[in-house]
């Protein structure tokens, strides 16, 4: 089975049902399926072949969803890019995956254009605005492709099989360069099925999603609803909470996926002003929800099931806490999801029992194929499993279990910072800081933050005589990093604390920063 068959099957059995709501637009399964067929033929006519990579650089929108399924129908591999990504990172990913096409909009095309010369890109598809050939690059518009009667609106022939790639998901790695997690159709379908199983999703569900589709947790909301024939309401952000809560009420949403940043904002509000009687469940992932949030939400919405979950891009999802356990073990992220095995190992790879901290290892058909063209990083994450030739995922996350096997997250093995539910590589931010004249030494750390989970903090030792200000540093970061990676504060120091081996003593920095914040 292929991932795009989620859409095709729902279009067959419920073609007239509303699948997607975005702003004022409401599209049925039939409309989406037909449009994606034509767009897929358009991509193929532009030279996109089976297995080629198509980058999708758009805000949450109808066009972003169409682009995902059109790419899959063309037998190609979609690569979602966070809409706040700046030119350098975009160019790195484009060249790393050798993209054959880019789907974006007129506003972002300006920054895309500078990466095109000499690249592998054969076509650019614009979600809005006209086409043409600026600078000799072939640019098509959605409007023109959809209106092109020469392109069939029947599905293109299926050439891929389920172990072919469906998507590359770029994620921050401790080495500083983003890694492309290779997810096959089988990986994605397996994860979606398991999640649908424990959330008990049906075609009656209406999920309101504010998380970016460039974030796996956001993207899977679409896959899950399309699989069961439900409805997804897409929003771009939780920035204006009253607007989102109004939307939840008006659309009679049954599911609301959250990250701790959202629950922190919600709980500052008087929620009794809105009627959530139709809401069936809330999920939390990205980072652990603080226990006080869970307790308050339970009290405010006793009828709503709360699912604490844990996952990582490399296998999408690992655990969920059955909602009937949330009052008994609120600090746990639960047990393994259906059709998955996991265990905890010590440094020598031996399995450990309850109460002992070790690395979580995951086994199942949802585990990635590896990192795109990064054999060393792949070998580090995927290591021999119980069956001959099999490879299992070493998550790099430290866990322990209780006597009944419920899992408790302890820490990351590397220094990756989780902020607003997204991973930030300190090294990637440090590399940007070092490019700023006047920076002699830079260290990036995460400190606990009520709203963000962790806040990114830059510690800088200026070069002798350099007059750096926090504002200059933040401006430089904002120009070169995705929004969520930009430090919250900058701390200037005369010297950096070091360990006996001469490395920056990040633990000491974290401890001191915690005392100051």
């Amino acid at each position: 089975m292929q991932l795009e068959e989620f859409l095709e099957a729902s279009a067959r059995v419920a073609g007239g049902k509303i699948a997607l709501v975005s702003g004022e637009r409401r599209l049925t399964y039939g409309e989406i399926d037909r449009r994606c067929n034509r767009l897929a033929h358009g991509l193929a006519a532009s030279g996109v072949a089976r297995g080629d990579r198509v980058m999708i650089f758009l805000e949450n929108s109808v066009e972003a969803v169409l682009a995902v399924f059109a790419t899959l129908k063309a037998g190609a591999v979609f690569v979602m890019i966070n809409p706040t990504t700046k030119a350098e990172r975009f160019a790195y990913i484009l060249n790393h995956c050798r993209a054959a096409a880019v789907v974006t909009d007129a506003a972002k095309f300006e920054s895309v254009r500078q990466c095109l010369d000499g690249s592998s890109v054969k076509a650019v598809l614009l979600a809005d605005g006209g086409g043409g050939r600026p600078n000799g690059h072939r640019v098509l518009s959605f409007e023109d492709v959809l209106a092109d009667e020469a392109l069939s609106s029947e599905p293109p022939p299926k050439r891929s099989i389920d172990i072919d790639l469906a998507t590359l998901v770029y994620t921050s790695g401790s080495t500083g360069r983003p890694k492309g997690v290779m997810i096959t159709h089988l990986n994605a379908i397996t994860a979606a099925r398991s999640i649908i199983g424990y959330l008990e999703n049906t075609s009656d569900d209406v999920v309101l999603n504010v998380l970016p589709l460039s974030f796996g947790y956001g993207l899977y909301q679409v896959f899950m609803m399309f699989r069961v024939g439900g409805t997804v309401v897409l929003e771009r952000s939780f920035a204006y909470p009253a607007a989102i809560l109004g939307r939840i009420v008006r659309e009679r949403a049954t599911g609301f996926p959250m990250i701790p940043t959202i629950s922190a904002m919600l709980l500052q509000m008087d929620l009794t002003k809105w009627d959530f009687s139709h809401l069936r469940y809330i999920t939390n992932a990205g980072a652990a929800m603080p226990l006080e949030h869970i307790a308050k939400l339970r009290k405010l919405m006793p009828h709503v099931k709360i699912y604490s979950m844990y996952g990582q891009t490399e296998c999408t999802r690992v655990t969920y806490l059955p909602p009937d356990q949330i009052d008994a073990r609120p600090g746990s992220v639960g047990r393994g999801m259906p059709n998955q095995e996991h265990y905890i190992v010590d440094d020598s790879g031996n399995r450990v029992g309850p109460g002992v901290v070790g690395e979580l290892v995951v086994r199942g058909a949802h585990v990635m194929k590896g990192y795109w063209e990064m054999p060393e990083a792949t070998d580090n994450a995927l290591r021999p499993g119980p069956l001959p030739g099999e490879r299992v995922l070493h998550t790099g996350d430290l866990f322990k279990t209780d006597e009944e096997g419920y899992l408790y997250f302890v820490a990351r093995r590397d220094d990756i910072i989780k902020t607003r539910g997204e991973k930030v590589s300190p090294r990637e931010v440090e590399d940007v800081l070092y490019a700023l004249p006047g920076v002699a030494q830079a260290a990036v750390i995460g400190v606990p933050d009520k709203i963000l989970g962790s806040a990114v903090i830059a510690v800088i030792v200026p070069r002798g005589g350099a007059q750096l200000t926090e504002r200059e540093v933040l401006r430089h970061c904002a120009a070169h990093l995705d929004d969520y990676m930009v430090p919250k504060f900058v701390e200037f120091r005369d010297e950096m604390p070091t360990t006996a081996s001469g490395k920056v003593a990040k633990l000491a920095l974290c401890r001191e920063a915690r005392e100051n914040v």
Binding site: P83, T84, R236, S237, F238, A239, Y240, P241, A242, A243, G246, T261, I262, M265, M269, D270, K273, R420, I451, L452, R471, L474, R475, A478, A479, D483
Partner: protein, 82 residues
């Protein structure tokens, strides 16, 4: 009032970034100038600078999402308080 708002947005969200200009009607969200935590900072600023207390059900783009909308909202709230 517009200048004060513009200065705040410039200092806190644009960091005086070259090449990012903002007109009075530009959407702060669409232009990616503000995000969830930015709105919280904006609310704290409205309280501290203009004495405007934003109620939960006023956390809407209609009230907060551009310089002109902010001006109208502050004026309306100030009048109601007077």
């Amino acid at each position: 009032m517009k200048d004060v708002l513009r200065q705040f947005i410039n200092d806190n969200f644009l960091f005086g970034l070259q090449g990012r200009t903002l007109s009075d009607d530009d959407s702060l969200l669409e232009k990616r100038i503000i995000d969830s935590t930015g709105v919280l900072e904006l609310i704290a600023f409205l309280d501290a600078t203009f004495g405007v207390k934003v109620q939960d059900d006023e956390l809407l783009p209609e009230n907060l999402d551009s310089i002109n909308r902010l001006v109208r909202f502050i004026e309306k709230k100030s009048k109601a308080a007077a």
